[in-house]
């Protein structure tokens, strides 16, 4: 809320900045003192992340009723120390306890060092002094609640129809300011701002099964991330009519027959395919076995980097830097500048998603040098969680197979699918089963009827090696993921996937008894 004692927003912003600066300087002094003390206690590395503000707001209209109208504010500090090759972490929301929190982190690290494994080292890095802020025209937290609700209500009104049994319109906003310091002299001042939106409609089909159609706020990777994005009808509200129309098609449709057909995946589904069967599989902590008890492992082993044929020649996958994405953050949570790199190049696995401390172990296990530089993938969801290897923007490069229409024209017997309903993946990401909201038949180069209850399943490497068409640039969309779960203690992270239209040959679709 704008403090009315200030005559204009700019003055207020400056005042807020001064308050932040004062707090940060106080916390920063304690942190620097703590970092020095840790170095004197035998720690080879230490860092601190002070979340001066981690704010979120979620609004949800369900069937026209404002059922979620909630804000959150998190504020505190997380401290990590590396002692004799072992990590200790501690966090507190009580800023009078910064020094004690350093002590707790050290105690934890000393305990971890009692059962040592491959000794963690951070490797060489130059100190960085950096700042990052995302492109934003209008901060959602400066937009009056009434205006936001007015926007959602308009979308809800557009969805309301006797053909729609239930509807939901959701917006979530996040704003974060994180100050980072480490014992190498790095200091980062980083802002984040995310805007998410979803439109959903549901109706029963003739068999009484509830069907759904939805759309999430997405982009072409350019543009800005503030409220202006959500309020642009082309990006959000304008999809309501399409959602309603396609829902009508789904409820009148027959179930997708089981069989082997070519599968054309739109970006609204393709992002999840990439997320689950490339992104998670290439997180180095999973590859090294540090996630086995919860999230699982990976079918990839370190020695496969550089040689494994992950997919067909048409598969080019990058950890990208996209201006308008929740997976773009400037510097990761150990101060490594974000940069773009191939993960899979012309189908060959060439890199993994990494942070600094996993590199030496990966190379040792591979028996050769397979990774040389942190992938800037050390990410933490909150001040009270430690950074782990996370996805950033895991993108598939667009190809040269033209538009969606061109790919349809080149398909004699296929299915187009869009938007996940369900996802279930093997513990090593080696196989998967996905359900989708909608499917369209493709017969003899033409898009045909709609099918409901669309599912497909397959085995990861076989599937990606069947990739035979990759759409051109106009088919590429940046899909946002606000809810990727991983880690112990559990963490929910936001990230992005830039995905073109893709076609896969001979995929098992539908459910066969």
């Amino acid at each position: 809320m704008v403090n009315k004692t200030y005559s204009d927003a700019r003055t207020f912003t400056e005042h807020k900045e001064n308050l932040v600066t004062n707090t940060v300087s106080v916390v920063g002094r304690e942190v620097r003192s703590g970092l020095e003390r840790m170095a004197g206690s035998g720690c080879s590395f230490a860092d601190a992340r002070f979340y001066d503000e981690d704010r979120a707001q979620t609004l949800m209209l369900r069937d026209g009723n404002l059922e979620v109208n909630a804000g959150t504010l998190e504020r505190g500090i997380g401290i990590r120390v590396l002692y004799k090759g072992a990590w200790g972490f501690a966090a507190t929301g009580d800023l009078s306890q910064v020094s004690a929190t350093f002590d707790r982190a050290l105690t934890n690290a000393r305990a971890a060092a009692l059962l040592p494994g491959f000794p963690k080292t951070m490797g060489p890095a130059q100190p960085v002094q950096g700042k990052y802020e995302p492109p934003v025209k209008r901060d959602p937290f400066d937009v009056p609640l009434e205006e936001k609700l007015g926007l959602l209500k308009d979308v809800d009104t557009a969805l309301a129809d006797k053909s729609v049994a239930h509807r939901a319109v959701t917006a979530t906003f996040q704003r974060r300011r994180v100050f980072y310091w480490n014992s190498e002299g790095t200091a980062i001042d980083r802002k984040a701002l995310n805007t998410f939106g979803m439109i959903l409609a549901m109706a029963p089909d003739k068999d009484g099964r509830m069907q759904r159609r939805s759309v999430e706020l997405s982009s072409d990777g350019a543009g800005t991330r503030g409220y202006e994005w959500l309020s642009d009808p082309v990006c959000f509200a304008g999809h309501a009519e399409r959602v309603k129309y396609e829902l009508g098609q789904i409820v009148a449709a027959e179930p997708l027959p089981a069989g082997k057909r070519d599968l054309i995946i739109l970006p609204g589904q393709g992002f999840l395919q990439v997320h689950e069967t490339i992104g998670h599989a290439l997180e180095l902590d999973r590859i090294l076995g540090y996630e086995l008890s919860f999230a699982g492992g990976s079918h990839v082993r370190p020695e496969m980097v550089g040689t494994l044929r992950y997919g067909s020649d048409k598969l080019n996958c990058k950890a990208g830097v996209v201006p308008n994405s929740p997976g773009t953050f400037g510097y990761d949570d150990e101060g490594t500048p974000q940069h773009e790199y191939f993960l899979i190049k012309q189908g060959i696995l060439v890199n993994v998603l990494s942070s600094r401390a996993g590199l030496a172990e990966a190379n040792a296990k591979a028996g050769k040098t397979v990774v040389t530089r942190s992938g800037a993938a050390a990410r933490s969801c909150a001040f009270y969680r430690t950074p782990i290897d996370r996805m950033t923007n895991i993108n598939i490069d667009y190809g040269n197979d033209g538009s969606l229409d061109d790919i349809i024209a080149a398909t004699s017997d296929g299915i187009i699918v869009d938007v996940p309903v369900s996802w279930s993946i093997g513990s090593n990401r080696e196989h998967f089963h996905f359900g989708c909201e909608i499917a369209w038949e493709v017969r003899d180069g033409k898009r045909g009827k709609v099918y409901k209850n669309a599912t497909y399943h397959g085995h990861t490497l076989e599937f990606w090696n069947s990739l035979d068409k990759v759409g051109a640039k106009p088919t590429w969309r940046l899909q946002q993921v606000p809810n990727c779960g991983k880690g112990e203690p559990n963490q929910i992270m936001e990230l992005g996937h830039g995905i073109p239209v893709m076609r896969f040959a001979n995929v098992l679709v539908g459910e066969k008894e």
Partner: protein, 459 residues
């Protein structure tokens, strides 16, 4: 009861709101958490978090607003700031087309029986020592690597509202140890887990013995690839817990039923839904569970049967769904329930289950289970740890990753036998705040006609 200083601060806020005619409730949460993560036979990470949270909700007629603070919430300044945010959200809110049910602490609650000071302060050193003993005994037996996690800590919850002067307080400790043994060449994984309500709940010898019992089948036999089709499956407790959770979500949540989104949409209480041997109850008095005595709307939670001897007994309504559809809330304004699947009549012990099964697949865990079609209760998930082929009543070979895609009604309507012994299954999540949750599940559930639709090449 909650520490006096914080309690007085919250009661003062409540009373000030009441005097000002503001309907507000205050839900305080404090955790002291500690966790070690095992990876590659070492402690890869040791953490501790000391966090306080405050959720404030304000209601003005049909308008509601909420604000949560995760910071140092033990100062009046912070508390008042959160309250102002909640009031402002409420002021600007759109009114609902029904009357929301305001949070009312129905009965005073002061529940600390589940608190063990020794578990609250269980150190990383102690955890590391126990894990070291397990690893040292097992590692020489093969080409094994160990990973896992051990989370423990305390949780305090305190709820008051301006509706009356009642206070609800709960303090408990909980812990969960998971150790995964991975064969580094063949890639199979075995897992042992333990749920803790007290510091000295288990010994390293217990854990080693459980691993040793499974190792010979895995070491001596190649992975078994079963046929795709319908088969007899002996589910273990963790898999049963997954199925029971999905059943609750896709079958017995009141809102889903009202909106025809559940597989029970065409059923009413008294109708047949599962086999006679299946009874599901949300029971905070069960000794296996962590017992949530009140929900976040102030409802005093008591035993709540959902399915009795295969018949639909009742649906679960949170206060929002109850208000919208003109029902009574049932104490389910919660993320974590006390779900229990009643024991059956079959023999106790896995050996008894194996004998009954004869030839079957033993699937104790279902990994990454999801619902392609909730209105049919259709689920899909794959086997993971400890899964084995059962032949002539004995374990014969490890199963490679095997996918089950079926419906909850089909699986739970084809129950052949339910163990007469239950075990706690810890399903706690640490997304956001510490939320201890355990379920009481039979140690096995034998089902016929379960659909296997995919088999992977390896583990």
């Amino acid at each position: 009861m909650l520490e006096t200083r914080i309690r007085e601060l919250l009661l003062d806020a409540r009373d000030r709101c009441a005097q000002a005619g503001i309907n507000a409730d205050f839900n305080f949460h404090r955790e002291r958490s500690g966790l070690i993560r095992l990876g590659n036979s070492s402690v890869a990470l040791s953490t501790s978090e000391e966090l306080t949270r405050l959720d404030v909700s304000v209601q003005d007629g049909r308008r509601t607003g909420a604000y949560s603070l995760n910071a140092d919430v033990t100062s009046r300044e912070q508390l008042d700031a959160a309250l102002e945010q909640a009031k402002e959200s409420c002021r600007a809110a759109l009114p609902k087309d029904y009357d929301p049910i305001f949070c009312t602490v129905k009965e005073p609650v002061d529940e600390s029986r589940g608190f063990d000071p020794a578990l609250e302060t269980l150190s990383s050193e102690a955890k590391t020592e126990l894990c070291s003993k397990v690893i040292k005994q097992l590692k020489p037996l093969g080409h094994y690597d160990f990973s896992g996690s051990w989370s423990s800590g305390s949780t305090e919850m305190y709820l008051v509202s301006t509706a009356n002067r009642n206070e609800a307080y709960r303090k408990l400790t909980d812990g969960r140890l998971v150790i995964v043994l991975k064969e580094q060449d063949k890639k199979w994984e075995l897992q042992v887990e333990r749920t803790q309500k007290a510091a000295n709940a288990f010994t390293p010898e217990d854990i080693v013995a459980q691993f040793r019992a499974m190792l010979p089948v895995y070491e001596k036999n190649p992975g078994y690839r079963t046929q795709i089709g319908r088969q007899r499956v002996l589910f273990g407790p963790q898999a049963v817990a997954e199925l029971a959770s999905l059943a609750m979500w896709s079958g017995f949540n009141g809102r889903g039923w009202e909106e025809k989104r559940t597989f029970t949409a065409n059923l009413k209480p008294g109708d047949k839904v599962f086999s006679d041997s299946v009874s599901l109850v949300d029971d905070p008095d069960n000794t296996d569970v962590f017992s949530m005595p009140f929900d976040f709307n102030g409802f005093r939670r008591r035993r709540f049967p959902v399915v009795t001897n295969g018949l639909l007994t009742a649906l679960c309504y949170d206060s929002g769904s109850a208000a919208k559809y003109g029902r009574q809330p049932t104490g389910h304004d919660l993320g974590n329930w006390d779900l229990c699947l009643a024991p059956g009549k079959a023999g106790a012990g896995l050996a008894a289950g194996l004998k009954l099964a004869g030839n079957a697949l033993y699937i104790p865990h279902l990994h990454y289970i999801h619902l392609p079609d909730p209105t049919q209760g259709q689920f899909t998930g794959s086997s993971r740890f400890n899964a084995m082929l059962v032949k002539d009543g004995s374990f014969a070979a490890p199963l490679v990753s095997t996918r089950v895609t079926d419906t909850i009604p089909n699986v739970l309507s084809n129950v052949v036998a339910v163990s007469s012994k239950t075990v706690p299954v810890n399903v706690s999540s640490t997304y956001d705040r510490r939320s201890p949750e355990a379920m009481s599940m039979p140690e096995y559930l034998l089902c016929d006609n379960v659909r296997i639709n995919d088999v992977a090449d390896g583990f």
